[in-house]
């Protein structure tokens, strides 16, 4: 998957307009980022990459790019 397409999926998850997120955003600055959004992120990764990531891995992420980094091998710039 392209990073651009992945960002569009994250725009949808974060309830933002398409094209809003660049990846640089800090998660703590995004009002909607909480455990419910994390559930949505786990489901999204499972749907798109058939990979189940753990809560511990998500907790280490500080930025949107860190989230994308969890599936780095499957995302192309």
């Amino acid at each position: 998957m392209s990073k651009q397409k992945f960002l569009l999926l994250l725009d949808d998850l974060f309830e933002e307009d398409p094209g809003t997120l660049s990846g640089e955003e800090r998660l703590e600055d995004l009002e909607i980022w909480d455990s419910l959004t994390a559930l949505g992120f786990i489901a999204l990764i499972d749907d798109e990459f058939n990979l189940i990531i753990s809560g511990d891995e998500i907790e280490k992420c500080l930025t949107v790019n860190d989230l994308i980094g969890l599936v780095q091998q499957d995302v192309v710039e």
């Binding site: 909480d34 455990s35 419910l36 994390a38 559930l39 786990i42 489901a43 499972d46 749907d47 189940i52 990531i53 753990s54 809560g55 511990d56 998500i58």
Partner: protein, 363 residues
């Protein structure tokens, strides 16, 4: 992972009871704000929950359900020779609630009674245990009572669980029957999940004290004490996705069914989001995947029998159904059953208002 097969035991009937008091999730807007409550309701699918008052214990719910079920079955109380009570919210630290319940139900002295401490997986574990014991030939009729009143130990200011938990008690009647279809069970445990769903205080590791009852600000601004239940919802979700499809596949494989053979997949009603994702992941159509959470919330071990009686009553009363039952959560602990059951007695849901105080007379 253990796989077990039980022969010659049938489910004769199921009855459930819930407390009368209903809490509407929208009423918590004052605490969490409108946006959070809306998102939690949309995600979990929960609108309201029956919650126990401080006078209602799990055993009270199970007691009412049992009287009703025995009446509907026309079974004499004296004919019961096994009572298994599965709960994490007992009446006392000791004696076992099964003994208290035995006394209040007026069961016979020859009836074996004991407690099992399990939650979300408890119904299927209990079904396995009771049916396995009965297969030995020592018992003819058994009662499996499963339920919890976890809402009594939820902090109203902990959004991870405050809007999620409802209370219910269930009882399932089991009987020896040579014609009954085999039941297959797949069971497992991963104790490394201990701290992700826990009430830290109140046992012997951390006895209750003035300190443990103090509600303080915890992770993500949630306010909670060590006497309250803690749940890491993200970790529960990951555990569920990693475990449930495998245990369901194992049970199907062992009994020799494919997906089409199954009439319904009755899962522990954790929350609607988890359930819908599981259904999609396992490729199960919506009509075979009953969700019974809108008016009850997550009722711990009682959620599977509650879903059977509230969503499948008409078919279960009339004809045999091939069911997959799967419970998963606190422990981590999980169990899946592949069973053919019905026609059976399904009692109307009992609504329990406050019950008389039942403290022993000398206390």
């Amino acid at each position: 992972m253990a796989v077990a097969r039980v022969s010659g035991i049938r489910i004769a009937g199921i009855a459930n009871a819930v407390p009368e008091a209903v809490v509407i999730n929208e009423d918590s807007i004052d605490i969490f704000g409108e946006q959070i409550v809306r998102r939690i309701n949309e995600t979990t699918g929960i609108e309201s929950r029956h919650v126990a008052s401080a006078e209602i214990c799990t055993s009270d719910l199970c007691e009412v359900a049992t009287h009703k079920l025995l009446k509907d079955l026309s079974w004499e109380h004296e004919s019961i020779d096994l009572l298994v009570f599965v709960s994490q919210t007992p009446d006392y630290l000791l004696p076992a609630t099964a003994c208290s319940l035995h006394g209040r139900l007026g069961l016979s002295p020859h009836c074996v009674a004991f407690d099992v401490n399990l939650g979300c997986s408890g119904y299927v574990y209990g079904l396995w245990m009771a049916s396995q014991l009965m297969q030995s030939g020592a018992f003819k009729r058994g009662l499996l009572a499963v339920g919890d009143t976890i809402s009594r130990i939820v902090s109203p200011e902990d959004r991870a669980s405050a809007l999620l938990i409802g209370d219910a008690g269930s009882v399932t009647a089991l009987e020896r029957d040579d014609q009954a279809s085999d039941m297959v069970f797949d069971l497992g445990t991963d104790g490394s999940g201990e701290s992700n769903l826990i009430v830290p205080a109140g046992g012997f590791r951390m006895p209750t004290s003035t300190r443990t009852q103090e509600r303080t600000v915890r992770e993500k601004s949630n306010i909670r004490s060590d006497n309250d239940v803690f749940m890491d919802g993200t970790k529960v979700f990951t555990f569920t996705l990693r475990t449930v499809p495998n245990t369901v596949a194992s049970a199907l494989d062992t009994i020799g069914w494919d997906m089409d053979t199954v009439d319904a997949f009755v899962m522990h009603q954790a929350n609607r989001y988890i359930l819908r994702h599981l259904a999609k992941k396992m490729d199960i159509p919506e009509e075979k995947f009953p969700i019974c959470i809108k008016d009850f919330g997550n009722t711990s071990g009682a959620s599977i029998p509650l879903t059977m009686t509230e969503m499948l009553a008409d078919t279960l009363r009339q004809k045999p159904q091939n069911l997959i039952l799967s419970g998963f959560g606190v422990g981590w602990s999980w169990a899946t059953a592949a069973i053919t059951c019905g026609p059976m007695v399904i009692s109307e849901l009992s609504i329990v208002s406050n019950v008389p105080k039942k403290m022993p007379a000398d206390l």
